[in-house]
């Protein structure tokens, strides 16, 4: 009995797998090559799947880019979010300078600059080309003003500062384009939220598309799977070609999405530059970068692999070993 057991053990050791690093790597490369050949063998259906994945990845990426640019635009305008205080006629230069010193020491104020009545007149004459008309008026109609830059540019903080400044006795009126900043802020929030929802929905769509394509592949290769099971292929071995197929579908879809984004960018960059120059903005549009492209490729590959893993492993584990 014990002699037979020993023999059995030696029989078993003969059939143990011998995993060598080179063997494993070349085995993976072979499966990769096989997946590529299978795509080439069914070019139309592969191309359609890849195209649908590309569109599903393109839309959230595009929206993300738009949201980023809106944020940049908002930041750009918030830099110039100055509050202008027009002082009352009774406030003389001395009082105005004292007030500006007071404000400068406040925590929520970054900087203050004072423009006296005569400076305002000189600037107006130089800048408007209407200097002659003002001279004919005789009296200087322009008020002195303080230009205040808030240290905190959050709309709420700016609003609080404005309310406080309005209450000052020396201040006639306050000018601030807060509403515009708030609107931009809200718009950006909408686009961001839309982008997040779209990314979630379309990410699920990619999982579904890849999973469906893999399901078809598994059905077509049922006979092969049976043979592999019979010769002792593990669930991982059986799933491996499908995981590679899913990974490649995601990667190719993401690559196509990147190319489409770059083409789109090329097509609209002229009109956008034109638009921005009309607004005289210094704002530079944030284009699709190499980092964005790499992230999109990584996300696409991961989604493809996950879709394939869910689809293949659930099927493999649902059937007998």
């Amino acid at each position: 009995m014990s002699a037979r057991d020993r023999k059995t053990a030696s029989e078993r050791s003969r059939t143990l797998p011998q995993h060598s690093g080179g063997g494993l790597l070349s085995a993976h490369l072979e499966v990769l090559g096989d997946s590529l050949r299978r795509f080439a063998a069914a070019p139309l259906s592969s191309a359609m799947t890849i195209f649908v994945i590309a569109i599903a990845l393109l839309l959230p990426a595009l929206l993300g880019l738009v949201a980023d640019n809106l944020a940049g635009l908002g930041g750009n305008f918030q830099d110039s979010a100055r509050i202008t205080l027009f002082l009352t006629g009774q406030t003389d230069d001395g009082e105005a300078v004292a007030l500006s010193e007071d404000l400068r020491s406040a925590a929520d104020v970054a900087s203050v600059s004072y423009t006296s009545r005569s400076q305002a007149l000189a600037e107006f004459q130089a800048g408007s080309g209407l200097g002659g008309i003002v001279t004919e008026l005789g009296d200087n109609p322009l008020p002195a003003s303080l230009s205040v830059t808030p240290s905190n540019r959050e709309p709420d903080a700016v609003q609080a500062l404005v309310t406080r400044l309005q209450a000052l006795p020396q201040v006639e009126s306050v000018l601030v384009d807060l509403l515009w900043i708030q609107r931009l802020d809200a718009m950006q929030a909408v686009v961001n939220q839309l982008g997040r929802i779209l990314a979630l929905v379309l990410g699920l769509a990619v999982l579904f598309i890849v999973g469906n394509s893999i399901r078809t592949g598994i059905e077509q290769r049922q006979r092969e799977i049976e043979v592999v099971r019979l010769v002792g292929g593990t669930a991982g071995y059986i799933a491996r070609p499908f995981l590679y197929s899913g990974l490649l579908l995601g990667l190719f879809g993401a690559t196509l999405a990147c190319l489409l984004l770059m083409a789109l960018q090329l097509a609209v960059s002229g009109p956008i530059d034109n638009l921005l120059s009309l607004y005289g903005a210094e704002f530079r549009i944030r284009f699709f970068t190499a980092v964005d492209a790499l992230s999109l490729l990584a996300i696409g590959s991961l989604l493809g692999w996950s879709g394939a893993a869910i689809s293949s492993l659930t099927r493999i584990y649902a059937s007998p070993p």
Binding site: R4, D5, K7, T8, E11, R12, R14, T15, L16, P17, Q18, H19, S20, G22, G23, L24, S26, A27, R223, E224, E226, V227, V228, R229, L230, V231, G232, G233, T234, A235, Y237, Y317, P320, P321
Partner: protein, 228 residues
Amino acid sequence: MIRFDQVSKRYASGNDALSQISFELQQGEMAFLTGRSGAGKSTLLRLITRMESPSQGQVIVAGRNLNRLTRRQVAWHRRQIGVVFQDHQLLFDRDVFENVALPLKVSGYSKSHTERRVRAALDKVGLLGKEKMRPGALSGGEQQRVGIARAVVHRPAILLADEPTGNLDPLLSRDIFGLFEEFNQVGVCVLIASHDLGLVASRRRRIITLEQGRLIENREQRADVGPG
């Protein structure tokens, strides 16, 4: 090596394929499994490979109760078995080499080791020159020999064959049976399901006979019975 202990198999359809089967094959033994088609021969072989599991009883192979194997252990269990089918079960989108190499690839053998073993197996069945051909371009007898090469390439401890000569002429059948005997001589435990009673009787081996899922005969043939 292979032990059936009161094994019954009822399929989900309610069909009783096997009832209360008990027998044992020793290490290095060769035996035939006979009976009409539908008697349960294929089911019995599928229980040994654990492609099916018994409804009752235990199948013990190489000291392991197959009922208690995990999914991974089932895969490892199958690596010590080679199976030959009547319809060969070859993959027609791959060449002969790839078909024969499959059991080694599944086990993760290195490329050079795989090539050596595959050549040796193809040499054994006389198909060394045809490794680059597709199975579809081969004759039935050649396809069967590719199937045999695949079944033995990883030097299994157990070789199972399900009607391996079902589609072959008598001369080819005798060759194939001769091959199985050669494997048995180097210590492989061989179990061949066949309804070719003439050929089976000529081989002086143990015969296990099934009828409607029941074991009706399990006898050693005496060595002095001459070849037919």
